[in-house]
Amino acid sequence: MIKLIAKKLLRLFFILIAVTAITFFMVNLLPGDAAYNIAGPDSTAEEIENIRKDLGLNENVVVRYLNWLFKVVKGDLGESLLARGLVSRAIVSRLPVTIELLVLSVLLSLMLAIPFGVICAYKPGSLIDKAVSSTAFGMMAVPVFVMGIALIYIFSIHLRWLPATGFSPISAGIFANIKSLLLPAFTIAMVEWVPLMRVLRSDMITTLQENYILMARSKGLPAPYILFRHALQPSSLTLITILGLQIGHLFGGSMIVETIFALPGIGRLLIGSIFGRDYAMVQGCILFTTIAYVIVNFAVDMLYAFLDPRIRKQMVDGHG
């Protein structure tokens, strides 16, 4: 077990170095650095050169990366070039938004994916299966940015149930907090539940062929009990894998939803700093999202063990 964790940590380290290094070099190689943003359009080459010198952008890329890395090891993520504030503070202040949005959207997509996936697997090829699948693909065919606007029109303007934009922190009351995140989370869930439902349906169909399901039926247990208690858990391994990948991506990848709903999350911070070439901020965000990704995947591995005692045994025995 300890060996396993050590192995995972080593891998985390490798991934962190690889991802931050590649990002750093790529963003640095993009034309037009932060100096152009600071100087503005009506500038001379000389002014740009001065700003670049002031910001230390004239140094070698490798040197700058190593400097950054050295500072990070000491716990200093540096200062933003554009916003002139601490990168760590900017990230921490956006963390609650991102995490809450993520949790809520994951919950919503599971609430859609699990019942529908189970029902479709129970009666594959039936009318309800076809209807659910078509609806699901229909939702996949609507890009997130259109889905978001459509939901705003429906729920904020016509029904006036939910706020259109903005984020209310928990300090404003848990109800207001959830209300402000419901639409964006729903927008994400509308797209993300589809693959979850599909893999669950497919795995569940396989599970329902298993003898132990036949055995459970021969015990005279009711169908819903068999589906959810006997079949769901062994059918959810692929679902968990996909969910892990989704969560990993959502940490920094919900920028479109964050833009539309004006949520101050990590995704928006990242895209803004990429376009502004705010290197320190980009690196801070990437560091955060990468760590989050790796942790989520580690959690997924742990969850496998929780869901399937056979894997648990393997891990404890050290064969993992």
Binding site: P31, P41, D42, S43, N50, I157, P163, A262, P264, G276
Partner: protein, 645 residues
């Protein structure tokens, strides 16, 4: 020669007072149900205003991103609430005192002595005096600080303290636009920050000024919050307790937030949304008229653009009217030169859209023309690119589109690595310095590579010409020369729009592109009257008066407001005169074209009548100003009319 330009300065308090009286007498934007002053005065105070903006706030210290040139709309508005300049311009171009009281030009025209307002304090308690002004300017002028905004005020050599409440600006040469630029609210340079905050390095994130509102909090989750400055030097102001600015990047969700009642005021720059808001009875739009223009830079260093025939062909192919309509939804004025909507030059030599002439010129040139076009990678940028590509295709020019994000585009322009690039001429109170920087052959920011001895001479002479009429003519000459030699193409003028819920009162337009919210107040009685969007849509789409008219407006008040003669000019330069008569008819004149009398009808605070197009007049805040919307088929627009013969 010595004269005091501020001889006839009207005390600012008096102006505000007039404004208030105007508001009380005529109601706001047609809401004739406003209670009399005495009654509503109490309710004017208090309340929180929610403002939705597109772009964020970069910080308030002069050193930092986006500080060199024009501030973005949200920054400009917010900054204007916290910090104050020495002077401002009113709508008709008069200079009004703010922190400065008067300005006296020296005999040699090379120094201004500015008297400062006394007993004004910054929000942190630091007194406002000559030291604060001098410190602020010396920071900018210090060459070691590499302040990118310095070039705008290049003519200023030094700023000195004369006594505690007098400062002297020393100029390198006689510089006529000095005071106008010093009143230009789109530059951070003109706002005076607290010396203590600057010294402590906190000003960038937590600005301290003398303005009606104080910085309270800036957080990504709660927004940028300013609160009432109870010790504001202008007694009785401001009315609001708090203003919260939130960044809502997406246009449609920003508009949705207004409709859903989450926001009271939003910035808008999408034609379809502005028109929607404009037509909705519960919302009002205001626009700030700017000068300058949306343009296309032509890199004259690169063949085939060094050939005047190719450039003129592009100018003839350019179809500004369509671009304004398709890319901007008809919200920008037509730009015939960069000097602004209000600046009129006769015979401006603007190359009108004419594909035939363009084809002829390209045929004359004889060689295939393949050029690249840098435009922004936004959805609007795409429309702009595709439109011009299509036009170029029709005259036989192969236009390659290169969509880039802002800094990529800036970089390539600065490196002179482009053929055509979308750009803008900043909206400023005086265009002399900017034109000089852009078109003088020796200027380092002459991106087009335009070089003409005549242009150089004109630019040089406008710089120091103190006679306003002569100088104006020189500027027009420059505009004509630009239109003739075509270093740039025009894509539209500049305007900024905001839409506000009807409960927000007294958001006034001020010169430049800044919208002033300092004197706004909230009419709490109007809060519950927001109609649902659907009904609004129905009324507006047909442009017909809702029948039966159930609204509670007193038609007589509206009628009293509109009776008389109104004049206006549309974006294509056609002049109109409408005479509203007592007998519910209106006489329509279009110069040299049309004369006819039609009936009008008053309903929902608006006046409906029909000429060759459907028209709706909306009498506004200003008793001498009125907006008239027109619509034919699916083309529509707004013309501002002014009272008078």
């Amino acid at each position: 020669m010595s004269f005091n330009t501020l001889k006839h300065l009207i005390p600012v308090a008096w102006i505000k007072c007039c404004l208030l009286i105007g508001v009380a007498a005529f109601g706001l934007c047609g809401c004739s149900q406003d209670a009399p002053v005495s009654k509503s005065k109490m309710s004017k105070y208090g309340g929180t205003l929610h403002v939705g903006t597109e772009t964020g706030f970069y910080g308030f210290d002069i050193f930092g991103p986006g500080k060199g040139g024009e501030l973005n709309p949200s920054m400009a508005t917010l900054n204007n609430l916290i910090q104050e300049p020495l002077f401002r311009l009113d709508l008709s171009g008069n200079i009004i005192p703010v922190l400065g009281l008067s300005a006296i030009l020296s005999d040699n025209n090379r120094a201004w002595d500015i008297k400062l307002r006394q007993s004004v304090f910054f929000h942190d308690g630091t007194p406002f005096n000559a030291d604060a002004v001098v410190l602020h300017w010396q920071r900018q002028l210090d060459p070691d600080n590499h302040f990118t905004g310095r070039k705008i005020f290049q003519a200023i050599q030094a700023v000195e303290k004369v006594d505690d409440y007098t400062v002297r600006f020393v100029l390198e040469f006689p510089w006529p636009p000095f005071l106008k630029l010093l009143s230009d609210e789109s530059y951070l340079s003109v706002f005076i920050p607290s010396p203590r905050a600057v010294k402590e390095g906190t000003h960038n994130g937590a600005p301290v000024g003398t303005g009606p509102f104080k910085f309270f909090k800036d957080s990504p989750t709660d927004g940028f919050i300013v609160v009432k400055n109870h010790d504001y030097w202008q007694k009785g102001l401001p009315y609001l307790d708090k203003i919260i600015f939130r960044v809502l990047p997406d246009h449609q969700s920003r508009y949705a937030s207004l409709i859903a009642g989450q926001m009271d005021v939003i910035y808008l720059d999408r034609g379809n949304l502005i028109q929607k808001a404009d037509k909705a009875p519960s919302f009002f739009t205001h626009h700030a008229k700017g000068s300058g223009a949306e343009i296309v830079l032509i890199n004259m260093r690169k063949p085939p653009l060094d050939d005047i025939r190719v450039r003129r062909a592009l100018a003839f192919a350019n179809y500004q009217k369509q671009e304004i309509k398709l890319a901007y939804g008809g919200i920008l004025p037509f730009a015939r030169h960069p000097l602004g909507e209000a600046f009129e030059c006769v015979n401006d030599a603007y190359p009108e859209h004419d594909l035939e002439k363009a084809r002829q010129l390209i045929a004359d040139y004889g060689k295939p023309v393949i050029i690249g076009y840098l435009h922004s990678n936004t959805s609007r940028g795409k429309v702009i690119g595709e439109l011009f590509q299509q036009l170029c295709k029709s005259i036989g020019v192969d236009l390659k589109l290169i969509p880039l994000p802002a800094n990529g585009q800036i970089m390539r322009v600065l490196k002179r690595d482009f053929h055509l690039a979308t750009w803008r001429i900043l909206s400023v109170n005086d265009h002399g310095p900017q034109l000089y920087r852009s078109f003088h052959s020796k200027s380092p920011t002459n991106f087009t590579g335009y070089s003409s001895t005549l242009m150089d001479a004109l630019l040089q002479s406008q710089r120091t010409e103190m006679g306003p009429e002569i100088r104006k003519e020189i500027l027009c000459d420059i505009a004509r020369l630009i239109n003739k030699d075509v270093p740039i193409l025009y894509r539209g003028g500049r305007r900024r729009y905001i839409a506000a819920s009807e409960k927000v009162k007294n958001i006034s337009d001020i010169a430049g592109l800044t919208v002033n919210m300092a004197t706004a107040w909230i009419d709490s009685e109007k809060k519950s009257r927001i109609k649902t969007h659907k009904t609004v849509q129905k009324v507006v789409d047909s442009f017909d008066c809702p029948d039966p008219c159930k609204d509670f407006e007193d038609t007589d008040v509206i009628k009293a407001k509109i009776l008389g003669t109104w004049k206006g000019m549309d974006d294509w330069g056609a002049k109109y005169k409408f005479i509203f008569k007592e007998d519910n008819t209106v006489r329509l004149h279009k110069t040299g074209r049309m004369k006819k009398t039609v009936p009008y009808e008053i309903c929902s605070s608006k006046v409906y009548f029909q000429g060759r197009v459907k028209l709706v007049a909306t009498p506004g805040t200003d008793k001498n100003k009125m907006e008239i919307q027109w619509k034919r088929d699916d083309i529509q627009g707004v013309v501002v009319f002014f009272k008078g013969d």
